[in-house]
Symmetry: D2
Subunit: 379 residues, 4 copies
């Protein structure tokens, strides 16, 4: 008997649209999911010619500029949303109404209430839903979670978390839509801290109780035109640095920074977890490794271990190559898509879901409020 | 006007067959080569059903168990050879006679004379040829070469080179065909040192003058059946460790080790180049980085720099993602295939070619002879 | 003409007493200070025999259990205070009244008002004063400051600072006086964060404007007797984790953690400074190195550089050995003592002084208050 | 009852003379040896005034320019030889005749026969002897040996060893006596490879069976005057790079490089040992760490561990500070002197002895001969 088929439409065709395209194109090649993926339709607001070029390049069978038509099509099982954030809600709700399974990029929405509406819609429709916290699918981060769950870390004392980039460290880097709060919702907080919060939840299972945040816009205006740095400037209305402290339920604490101004840090998405029995250090820039300190070993032999997470026994088989051959950024999405489709076909619970998206949004909102009011805020 | 089409057949479907398949499947997606790749035919000695499964998974349009038929087909432009080494020669020569461009895995052949025959064949036929030294297409290794060529290292004093793995460090790891000299040709020397030699030539441009080698088989017999380690054993007839010293033309020296017994080293393919003006350190296990020491800087500020080779200004654009997002093992092959096809379409010289394969083979042979005779041997 | 002589008395003979003894014993050997150090007298509350053993071992000429007698002696120029913190104030004030120069361990006192009294006393007496922020004398940290002052980092955006140890991560580690607030004043905050705060001020020159802190006691009780872990327990009244956020004058921000519960971290005293033109990363566990990212370099060649700070051109000559031979923990104190004595003999300004001690105390106090009140607090 | 006294004379007052002085001055402070060290006499060929300055600075009680007088003095128990190599033999033999215990710097002599004469002399005299392979006293290297001896590495397959510096990488660095074979004996081979050979013997216990070496002088002439680089040049008659391969008794192999031309490497004294059960990596530039890979662990958790060798359970107690506080280069000599004096007082066997010096010399000689004859040479 032939494999089940999962027919996909992608909405959006920028950075994340490319990442999704690659994943749908290659998931059957690298993983053993019990379904055949068909790349039915690419959707984005553009002229047919441009869409056609993109679709041909990445392997989409057809194109359609109007997302409303796409989500209503009978020959589509799964809608992948990779649009700017402010469009997530409407598309997701419409897709859910049409009974489509949904993979939506993070942050789930521009604010908590939108995110909650989306969650209600998918739950009501009974469709499967994925919020694209793609880093969960890095074998090394998944191994971190396994070690915590197996009790190798013991009681968790604290987490120390940083997501640092530097692409706007130059004050002459010009205005882009991402610096406009109306369009982007937030700056580093929604973009980077969202990942840090989800990684914390994923690895540790801890529940955020209360937060105090400090959101700063250190570079307050930027040239409207990068090529004319002495020309007129625009006002940056989102944070470029987000720092916050956390008390978790049960007593553990956390210290976080997200920034786009850390000169020299490129995609330095890191988390350190310290517990009674051991510690973990993860850094996406070295994604094929996980550092693990096991203090159950004798003091004589104990030390942070650099585990090369590329062995068959590792999560997601540590990638698909012999040991030490390593995978790259694109492969996270391939694994994510494969696992999501597996959950659809096998009808098993999936995480990260929209519920994870809502929980993250709730924490982000509390941080924003605590930054505005300058007092601790319950989540 | 439509793009030129390059129609490909792949012969072989193991480790390298998979790497090639992925590359042909995705090169148009990640690179801007002026041709459309068509995956015409998969060829391997197997029954039709098995071939069909592989072809479907990786995207080959058709299957054919007989390579002689494949190389003779009119609708094929490029033959990709990923078979065991001992088959390379015959296939390549036949393919060349039929006017096919050829990508052949390394080592080019099991010995120098075979490699030379292959080179003669492709030159006579006037086809393009690539010997699959895939590591050349790591952006970090390519940057190393650029820095040398730009004079940033100055006169080269010496290279210190090591390719270490550990997959057979356990003496109970059973016999496989790779341990049989008749089939495999050689052990670590042909498999790993070949890469080290090519990387040296690629980065430094140095010419090997004379060598002295030490080839050892430290684990001399292994269980015929891994599941019965106390059962009958077979004799290992290839080296598991290869060490050699080199004097290059012009006076630089080199020190090399390749091993499959370096417990803890997974795919530790490394090279250090030390010159009058600076040094370079490359390690494939951290393939998105290159270490560079520039002693033209003041002593106060000089230090080995970890360059994250993922920027648009880096070779092969440092991959195709924003900085710090990194690529993986599979992507080397994608770049290799793209560059080879570009050279076919644009009719430009290509390297690594069969000539590079022959040069490498010549050096390997001198090492083997020096190991047998225990005296230095001219290349 | 003979060198000036500086006659020293040490009060205290535990961890810091040993560090000071070594420094006074060897400063003339490793540095070129224009004075001869004489180790006149060791003082600690103990019987004569015990004092004699210590004095002989470390080279003190005489012993005296009563510090009041010591600070009054005519043949002493410099008093080195290495007692528990609660004794600092009284000794320092008495020593100042007697016209002695004073080196006092950090934190300067158990609270701000005590520290201020001490500062007033030394200023009134016109003696030289040093607050023992010994890490300032690590050549690598001193180089960090130099690079900032030379403009190599440019406008500073933020600092990310962590001082992590693990010596009490085991909940069965028993009660010691350091866990009693009455005696110790505070826990990690005064012990570790004090160093982090001073390192920030030293390197960056930034002024702390406001802070919000979170002080936690995660292990709330410990066995009174380590050898009887099921026996009676005592209450821990100091913090074992201190986290805080900072806004500096001029807009830079900071994120800090100090902890004694970071399993696997031994003396992980670190600071990262990110600025418009570059970044610095310092980690005392690798004290002979400083990481520097210079973004004035081309993107092609830029990367974090590991500067081995052991060259003659480095601060404090990078130690006293040929390059790469490295110094250890003890040597910081030797440099500190040498520099302090140089400032006495040459009558030049010295830093870190009691003023630096007071400034640090002020910040620590604001953090404690903000933690108690759960709102931001001006420094 | 009072401790035994060991009265010391030092001959030589350059780099090693300083290292020895510090060690004798401070060994009683940092270690618990059952003897009191008295620094009786400094000896060097110089005028009294210069000697006096050095003696005062480092704590020697008296000075004497004539070493023959010193070795004959009744009030001296131990002679420490830190002169240029060519003087070692005569001094050591004379000291032995006078019944003095001897600590002699490495290499023991300028050639094998001299070294053997020295060994005969100390054995005949029945005095204790130490050949100054100081790196053995790094706690991390000593831990490496322990782990091998405890069977944690299992059967050793091979060693990969490199000692790289860069202080003469600049061809305009002028002639010094070290580049004259008549005075210095050899270049990198005797200076650096001697350490690598001893470290191999110390850690692994392996016996060198045969060697093939390549000694090169890459910079063949240098300015006689560094300040006049276009002025007259002198001929360099020693090697600046030494590379060699080794077969050990029992089948293990080795690959070595020593160089003073490795731009960016400062005192990069490293050794990697790969065995059936695990691997070790040691690098003096990070002397407070040892890397250990234990493949008895599950593949899921295995990785190179960075052991911070500063705990009480580590060799030589990992230094004398709390964990993570690290020691420096000077401290190796302090430990060496302490252990040597302990063996004198307790009359226990000591290693590294002159016998170790002779064994090293034998290997160095075989390497030189193999380099001259270009064939493998038995040790």
């Amino acid at each position: 008997m032939s494999k089940k088929e999962i027919r996909v439409a992608l909405i959006g065709r920028k950075f994340m649209g490319i990442a999704h395209s690659n994943a749908f194109r290659n998931a059957n090649m690298w993983t053993d999911i019990p379904a055949k993926i068909t790349m039915k339709c690419l959707c984005a607001e553009d002229n047919t010619e441009n869409l056609k070029v993109f679709a041909d390049k990445y392997g989409w069978e057809s194109c359609e500029p109007d997302w409303r038509k796409v989500v209503a099509r009978d020959d589509i099982d799964l809608i992948s949303i990779a649009t700017p954030n402010y469009l997530h809600k409407e598309i997701a709700i419409e897709a859910a109404k049409n009974g489509k399974h949904i993979l939506c990029e993070k942050p789930l929405a521009n604010n908590l209430s939108e995110a909650q509406e989306m969650l209600e819609a998918v739950e009501k429709a009974g469709v499967k839903h994925c919020c694209g916290f793609s880093y969960r699918f890095t074998p090394s981060l998944a191994l971190a979670r396994q070690l915590v769950q197996e009790g190798r870390i013991g009681r968790i004392y604290h987490v120390f978390v940083r997501y640092a980039q530097d692409w706007i460290a130059d004050p002459n880097f010009g205005m882009v839509w991402r610096f406009d709060k109306k369009i982007a919702g937030s700056g580093t907080l929604g973009d980077l801290s969202a990942h840090s919060i989800d990684a914390t939840r994923f690895i540790t299972g801890l529940t955020f109780k209360e937060v105090i945040g400090n959101l700063q816009t250190l570079i307050k205006e930027r040239p409207l035109d990068s090529n004319n740095i002495n020309g007129p400037k625009g006002k940056v209305t989102v944070d470029d640095v987000a720092q916050f402290l956390v008390n978790f339920e049960g007593g553990a604490t956390g210290c976080y920074e997200s920034t786009r101004l850390a000169t020299g840090r490129k995609n330095y998405n890191t988390i350190e977890v310290n517990g009674e029995k051991g510690s973990l250090v993860w850094n996406f820039e070295d994604q094929n490794y996980l550092m693990f300190y096991d203090n159950q070993q004798s003091s004589k032999e104990a030390g942070f271990r650099e585990i090369n997470v590329t062995h068959d026994v590792h999560p997601y088989k540590g990638g698909w190559w012999p040991q030490g051959h390593g995978i790259g950024y694109a492969d996270l999405f391939t694994i994510e898509v494969a696992e999501f489709i597996r959950s659809i076909v096998e009808d098993t619970p999936f995480s990260p879901s929209f519920e994870d998206g809502v929980k993250c949004q709730k924490i982000l909102e509390a941080i924003e409020q605590s930054a505005a009011t300058r007092v601790w805020k319950n989540v």
